[in-house]
């Protein structure tokens, strides 16, 4: 399964040059690409530059004394990476892992975190016209991790702000 997703990432890298070219076209400028995934029925997205890889769920070692949404730590090629269950992070009920469950490893500079998601959907190019104006929801807790909202033909996608999601201070407030 993970190979497929990694293939998709690879494919994306190949098309990056094409993206550059497309940028020159003002009509249909691809600003960025977004990896989309499901949490229940809702589609979320993470901007591709922040994604390191997608892996299957390995055995997770629980760590005591951390918030319940931090499921523990995993070993990714000798690197220890903490994993966060997006469901419980967003206050949703956790569901048992199935064969579509996977972990998206994201990184903001020094900090790498694995995000457990129900399933990965697609990689979509984002153009200016897709982005709808985000209502000003500052201070409303449920929306603080949303970076932008995409209106696409197949539905609305919420792009997550990874740095906020794994930002220590944000986590502090959440406690």
């Amino acid at each position: 399964m993970s190979e497929n997703y990694n293939d998709k990432l690879q494919e994306l890298l190949n098309t990056q040059k094409a993206m550059e070219d497309a940028k020159k076209d003002p009509q249909n400028t691809v600003i960025t690409k977004v990896l989309t995934f499901f949490i229940g029925d809702q589609v979320y997205g993470i901007e591709i530059p922040e994604v390191i890889e997608i892996i299957e769920v390995p055995p997770i070692t629980a760590v005591p004394g951390v918030p319940s949404y931090i499921k523990g730590i995993i070993n990714v090629r000798s690197k220890i990476v903490p994993v966060v269950n997006i469901r419980s992070r967003f206050g949703k009920e956790e569901i048992p892992f199935n064969d579509r469950t996977c972990i998206i490893i994201v990184s903001t500079g020094e900090v790498s975190v694995g995000l457990i998601v129900d399933s990965v959907a697609d990689v979509v190019p984002v153009t200016e016209q897709h982005i709808s104006n985000t209502p000003d929801l500052t201070g409303v807790n449920s929306n603080r991790f949303i970076k932008s909202i995409l209106e696409m033909s197949d539905g609305i996608k919420l792009v997550l702000d990874v740095s906020k999601l794994i930002d220590e201070h944000a986590a502090e407030e959440f406690k």
Binding site: P59, T61, N75, V81, P82, S112
Partner: protein, 710 residues
């Protein structure tokens, strides 16, 4: 402005390292001489050597401000060298040189941390001025005390422009490689090297050190140097020239030109080593110039002897073992260290491979044992490479005590103990700040403000701050202690209450708990913020710094007698021999060094205390039981003590039985820190020191028994 000339970047790191080392040496000498209140000839020569090297290398790197700073410092010591007695009680000299040393350190740190384009050299003109003033003052003192002193100064006017001839001397013309840049400084470095081997009589161009324009001249005509080897042996010098960096070719000009023989007679036959030390010499020239003729033969002897002696000292300082030591970039060692860690993990992966289970493989086990022995050796060797003595860090503290003594007006001395104790380099680097803070705390808060208080308490007037280090059972114990006032528990408690960091009723706190409160964030007992301590961020930063390198910090104090801060740091940072335990689905690793024994229990050995705490009697001793699954909140099916296993652990005399489902086995494990993301949750306080990847790729949590119990 770019920091260094293009092509010199690779030298920068070396320069920084070297200069820092030299500055530390300088501090050490100064502290020693200040205590003794006298400069010995060797000390002065050593200081000269240091200043000179810094000057030379700063010039080579193009840091003019640093070069001049060293030059002015040299000027000052030039006066002192003539008459070391004048420096006695001249505290301004020490103040100034310490200031110079500090400026250097600051500037070097600035150079290190500043991007190429943002670098602007700091202006040291104020210090230049001070140094000049001090030099004048010293000169005045010198002349005032002994007007005749300057007469014995090495007489020299301008350096001899042409090679001076002398019996047994040799003149060599050296050409440097094309485009190697800064030929003048390379020539200067060469000159310094030659001086180790021979007496340099003259060189052309003479002012290579300070005059960058001479580079052109050197490119065109070569660098001409006339020297006379000690013991008349010039071969060593030729070898030195051959071996020097960037030297392309050299030619030996055998017989000095005839006019050269006449000239020195007219000007100054007494100018042997003068060319490189012009500036200070010229200022003092008048006295000898008045009477150069009467003593042309007798005089050269004295300076020559001095020069020879200085060179001997330099040789001594350089040490005989120079060739057996190399300096290695730490990052290479880190990589090596990581690789060894991986090898050990992989070794376990192979030897404890599940595929081998149940097989009788005699020769395999034999080979495996051999491999294990070698990897153990490899690990020990790599560890030992990284070990450095604590002396360097400890000696820096001498400086802090000295400065604070003056600022705070307290009498105190620093006592060092066990400074030869070796610890991992990365620990040494991390220890500097915490130790500095602790020493400052001892000086500021520990040692009493009023000497009378000390006398009344029957303590010597002079306070003592003690730094000690020793090895103990796989860890290094570093203690910073003072014989001051100790921690006032009532005051601490009151303060803690005011700051709202109490978590239970006041009277439930033990003395030890109260003392350790000062390590909590936002706690400061000093009522006023001072320059050195009292901002209330200190102690918890110290604690977290120490925890970062895997250590712990404890406070012990007795009111009226003093306090000790005890730092415990595991010796081998990264690899521990561990016992694997299973609790539910989780594998824990307990360092073998803290395990006393493991045992199964029968129900009749169990006791219950009044709080329903479980205890066990083993051979007449009673130990509390700590259920790991309860402590870490891990679901497990094994909850009856009879079904699982107890592990008696011992930390610093405290014994506790840990209860786990079962033992899995021993394994050396490579300790990895928890990922950064988790650092906000203080997992260490829960009793876990890190995690490790096991042979099968799963992760095991490493228990830190010390924190687990407290």
């Amino acid at each position: 402005m770019a920091k260094v000339e293009p092509g010199m970047e690779s030298m920068l790191e070396m320069y920084i390292f070297e200069t820092n080392t030299l500055l530390e040496q300088l501090d050490e000498i100064l502290l020693r001489t200040e205590d003794a209140n006298v400069f010995s000839q060797e000390d002065i020569n050593e200081i000269f050597r240091i200043m000179h090297t810094i000057k030379g290398s700063s010039a080579m790197m193009g840091f003019e401000n640093l070069q001049h700073l060293a030059h002015k410092g040299e000027d000052m010591f030039f006066v002192i060298r003539e008459k070391p007695e004048i420096a006695k009680d001249a505290h301004f000299v020490y103040e100034l040189i310490f200031e110079v040393s500090d400026l250097y350190k600051a500037e070097i740190e600035y150079i290190q941390n500043t991007g190429d384009d943002d670098y602007t050299p700091t202006d040291f003109s104020e210090t230049f001025h001070k140094l000049e003033e001090a030099t004048e003052k010293l000169k005045a003192m010198e002349n005032g005390e002994a007007p005749s002193a300057s007469a014995s100064a090495p007489a020299a006017s301008a350096p001899a422009p042409t090679p001076a001839a002398e019996e047994g001397s040799m003149t060599v013309r050296v050409f440097f490689e094309d485009g190697c840049k800064m030929e003048n400084l390379r020539a200067f470095l060469l000159l310094t090297k030659i001086k180790d081997e021979a007496e340099v009589i003259s060189c052309t161009p003479p002012d290579v050190e300070s005059n960058a324009d001479t580079a052109k001249d050197i490119i065109e005509n070569g660098f001409l140097v006339t020297f006379k080897g000690f013991d008349g042996n010039n071969d060593a010098v030729i070898k030195t020239i051959e071996g020097a960096v960037n030297v392309e070719s050299y030619e030996i000009i055998d017989t000095p030109a005839a006019p050269a023989e006449e000239k020195p007679a007219e000007t100054a036959p007494t100018a042997p080593a003068a060319p490189v030390e012009k500036a200070p010499v010229q200022e003092k020239a008048p006295a000898p110039a008045a009477a150069p003729a009467p003593t042309p033969v007798a005089k050269p002897e004295a300076p020559k002897a001095a020069v020879a002696k200085a060179q001997d000292d330099i040789k001594k300082a350089n040490g005989g073992q120079k060739q057996s030591l190399i300096s290695v970039n730490l990052s290479k060692l880190d990589t090596l260290h990581d690789i060894v860690g991986e090898i050990i993990t992989t070794e376990s992966m192979v030897i404890a491979n599940p595929d081998l289970e149940g097989l009788e493989l005699e020769s395999f086990s034999k080979a495996a044992r051999q491999l294990r022995k070698l990897t153990d050796e490899l690990q020990d060797t790599v560890m030992s490479i990284r070990m450095v003595p604590l002396a360097g860090v400890f000696q820096k503290m001498g400086r802090i005590v000295r400065d604070m003594k003056i600022k705070l007006g307290k009498e105190a001395e620093l006592v060092l103990e066990g400074e030869t104790t070796e610890v991992d380099k990365s620990i040494v680097d991390n220890l500097n700040d915490p130790l500095m803070h602790l020493v400052r705390n001892c000086m500021d808060h520990g040692i009493e403000d009023d000497v009378n208080t000390r006398i009344a308490a029957g303590k010597p007037e002079k306070g003592t701050v003690k730094l000690s280090a020793r090895h103990s059972a796989g860890e290094v114990i570093i203690t910073v202690s003072d014989d001051g006032a100790g921690i006032n528990c009532a005051k601490v408690l009151e303060k803690a209450k005011k700051n709202g960091i109490l978590t239970k009723p006041e009277n439930e706190y033990t003395t030890k708990e109260i003392q350790n409160m000062i390590l909590l964030p936002g706690f400061s007992t000093n009522d006023t913020v001072t320059e050195y301590s009292g901002r209330g961020v200190g102690m918890d930063v110290v604690r977290s710094n120490i925890e970062q390198c895997g250590g712990t910090l404890n406070v012990e104090s007795e009111e009226g007698k003093g306090s000790s801060f005890i730092i415990r740091i595991p010796l081998t940072l990264a690899i521990v021999e561990g016992m694997k335990l299973k609790v539910g689905d989780t594998i824990f690793t307990v360092p073998i060094s803290s395990i006393k024994e493991s045992l199964m229990v029968a129900n009749n050995q169990l006791l219950h205390d009044t709080k329903q705490g479980e205890m066990i009697m083993i051979r007449g001793m009673c130990y509390p039981i700590l259920r790991l699954h309860e402590k870490f909140n891990m679901p497990t099916e094994v909850t009856k003590l009879e079904d699982g296993i107890l592990l008696l652990v011992d930390v610093g005399g405290k014994n506790v039985c840990l209860f786990a489902d079962k033992l899995i086995g021993e394994q050396p494990v490579v300790v990895k820190p928890f990922p950064k993301y988790l650092s906000q949750y203080n997992i260490k306080a829960q009793g876990l020191s890190g995690c490790t990847v096991m042979g099968d790729g799963t992760i095991s949590l490493i228990i830190d028994v010390n924190n687990l119990i407290s």
